[in-house]
Symmetry: C2
């Protein structure tokens, strides 16, 4: 990776900019597909699957038998690993459930919040080069814990109309039975409007290519919520001279192999580490089957050598990385200074790959600088938090006059009157 | 209000539809203003304030003296009321702060979340017929509690370039010092890009007219987050024969006075109550200064008489009201059945006006059916929840092999290698 030495602070903001992703004008195409799916339902979904994905779908829905049979082709070793990951992800996400906490703000005025699941959610699992069954875990488990009644999974099939067995096995394991072999814009359109076969949902989750991203964006115009804006995946490593160059190189490459547009940044106060990591990358990259993709991603990537770890943390907060690895003996002392990041990996043995799969944290995280204003997926993403309030007679007597004064000052006399009629009925 | 008697269930969904709001094509105008503010900064803001709001701004920024002097023109009675409301809103929102809860998902694998404030937030307070200082409380207090460092308040001035003193007093009371007398599209554009005077922010909050709404929508294309999609305000009352018709009429009118596009719905199992409420409305409306607005809103509104309270709750969940009032002796028993609502008011003395101003709950809530998939504003709206994980040597030994198996099955060998290099260094 290219090494930058102590860039002046006035250049930092420019350095944090991600490369412009090509913004093709997909809107017209998205609107066309949405309109057709809205009117023609399943037949439009089938036609577009033929046109875009070169697959002749006889069934959009994956049968119970196909889902049940999937496990036969999964090794016990993989089943066991998926089950361990599931257990950890469950433990971490169950702990996010909010307990009801009633607050008596004024004597006789009780206020609280209760979570209610979003009724119907759509989980989009991308197809492509690798079967991302881990994303089924990361979206399906919190949806289940939140209590979403209708969980609909869409994923593009291969040319034979089939879905990877690891995806089906994982879906079955966590109890998802509504699986549809549809991908791309047509899948998002179907989840937005509903078709004869695919149920309409209230919120759509999951990563995807530029077509899926544009379609999710557009779905929002039709009352559907989405998990977060999307962008290429990224990792930032902060390392000092206590770091292990081999570990860091492996972490940077694990991000780089995602695709040519992946973002990989190393910040360090040690030029020696910067060089050692480059040497390790050159060595490790040769072993990788996805070497070409990783090499392409590394061209956009950079190592920045700064004066000290404080500068590294400041730069990282400005960049707001999706994944942040703190590779230092003093990693723990940096935690409270981290203000913008999706997920943080503390110390030499906390590699991103562990969080991607099995430690329990969610891997659906804000990218492209959105870690400055969005959180990753959690139980919160699958619920609404409804506020409740209950006033006793004492409560309205205590708080009523305050409301009357404020409503009058805002010239909202009917608001005032809603209190006055009650106070008057109590002899006030 | 028009009374519908037991509409058949197949018509329910159609009945829950809000009237189509006129969707004027504001996009071109929004893009024009955004581009000009981006390039010309303050001078564009000043020009558009002249063009749209007929105000000659000499200072965009409201001076410290003006803010400090505002309290002189506020009555002690109003100051006292605002301070009580502030105290209640603080109590309720402080309780929403999430405590750090470390979960050891596997021996040696610690995972947790920590909240970090969104660094810079913009609060938009609408101008218009009434000075909405209550919205300053509802947005400013959680922003302060969350710890947002830069809180920027924009609100349109009157024709003399002045801002209502109650707004300034409330801002000062909660510690907001960055106040700008700018409204409309140009305010949202300034918050999005920043100008010489107005700081750029990461998230924009607050209600507004169709121009502000369109501008907030467009701001999202520039990396800015927004609180929620907007629509006209609404209330739904569920009442049985234990309800007080006078209270309900007052509650319906308090919503109706907001504007001609307000939505007001009464659901009841008692035709007698339906009629009594209509009689009360006809009586109470004559006393209201905003009678004309309220009468207009009531034209879009309806009473629906259903078989029983269970049907009322089902219909309400389908409608997903912003405000839901449960006017029944048995209100408490309905709470767990409510799945879609912004804020719920339980029993005869819990009127919406109390929550609008002073009970402590937030009044910035999802409308237009969005209560089915969005929450109202809370502390959560002003923070990101960052996940952290820390693995000990024991942790990576315990979880590493699981990650290796999963990464290999997803054909992401560099992910696997990030674990392998660590296990190998430990003699694994």
């Amino acid at each position: 990776m290219k090494i930058l030495l102590n860039p002046p602070k006035q250049n930092w903001l420019a350095l944090t900019q991600r490369p412009q992703t090509r913004k093709e004008t997909l809107t017209d195409l998205v609107i066309k597909v949405f309109n057709e799916v809205k009117i023609k339902g399943d037949s439009a979904v089938i036609n577009y699957s033929k046109q875009f994905d070169a697959v002749e779908l006889t069934n959009i829905s994956v049968s119970k038998e196909t889902i049940a049979n999937a496990e036969k082709s999964i090794s016990n070793e993989l089943k066991n690993a998926i089950q361990i990951a599931k257990s950890n992800i469950q433990k971490f996400h169950i702990a996010q459930k909010e307990k009801v906490n009633k607050i008596e703000t004024t004597l006789g005025v009780q206020c609280w919040r209760e979570s209610r699941a979003i009724d119907s959610v759509g989980l989009y699992i991308p197809g492509g080069t690798a079967p991302l069954f881990s994303t089924v875990l990361m979206l399906g488990i919190p949806a289940m814990i939140a209590g979403c009644k209708n969980i609909v999974l869409c994923t593009p099939p291969n040319k034979n109309g089939e879905i990877d067995n690891a995806i089906l096995y994982t879906a079955a394991l966590i109890g998802i039975t509504n699986v549809f072999c549809v991908g791309g814009i047509q899948a998002i359109a179907a989840l937005t409007y509903g078709t004869e076969t695919i149920p309409k949902v209230k919120k759509i989750f999951g990563p995807g290519n530029q077509y899926v991203t544009a379609a999710k964006q557009y779905a929002q115009n039709n009352g559907v919520a989405i998990d977060m804006p999307a962008g290429p995946s990224e990792v930032l490593v902060i390392a000092d001279n206590t770091a292990n160059a081999s570990f860091i190189a492996a972490d940077l490459l694990s991000q780089a192999e995602h695709g040519a547009d992946s973002q990989v940044i190393l910040l360090t106060d040690s030029f020696k580490i910067a060089e050692a990591v480059n040497t390790e990358i050159d060595f490790q990259i040769n072993e990788l089957p996805r070497k070409a993709l990783a090499a392409e991603a590394l061209k956009n990537s950079k190592t920045i050598v700064l004066q000290n770890l404080t500068e590294c943390i400041d730069w990282s907060n400005l960049y707001a990385p999706e994944h942040l690895i703190l590779a230092s003996d003093t990693a723990e002392t940096m935690v409270y200074k981290i203000t913008n990041a999706g997920s943080v990996f503390i110390g030499h043995y906390s590699c991103e790959a562990v969080g991607d799969y099995a430690s329990g944290t969610n891997h659906t995280l804000p990218t492209n600088g959105f870690a400055a204003n969005y959180s990753g997926v959690s139980i919160d993403s699958f619920v609404k938090k409804i506020t409740f309030q209950q006033l006793s007679v004492e409560g309205i007597i205590n708080i009523g006059p305050t409301v009357e004064v404020m409503a009058e000052a805002e010239q909202l006399l009917a608001h005032k009157n809603a209190v006055t009629v009650r106070l008057r009925s109590l002899g006030g």
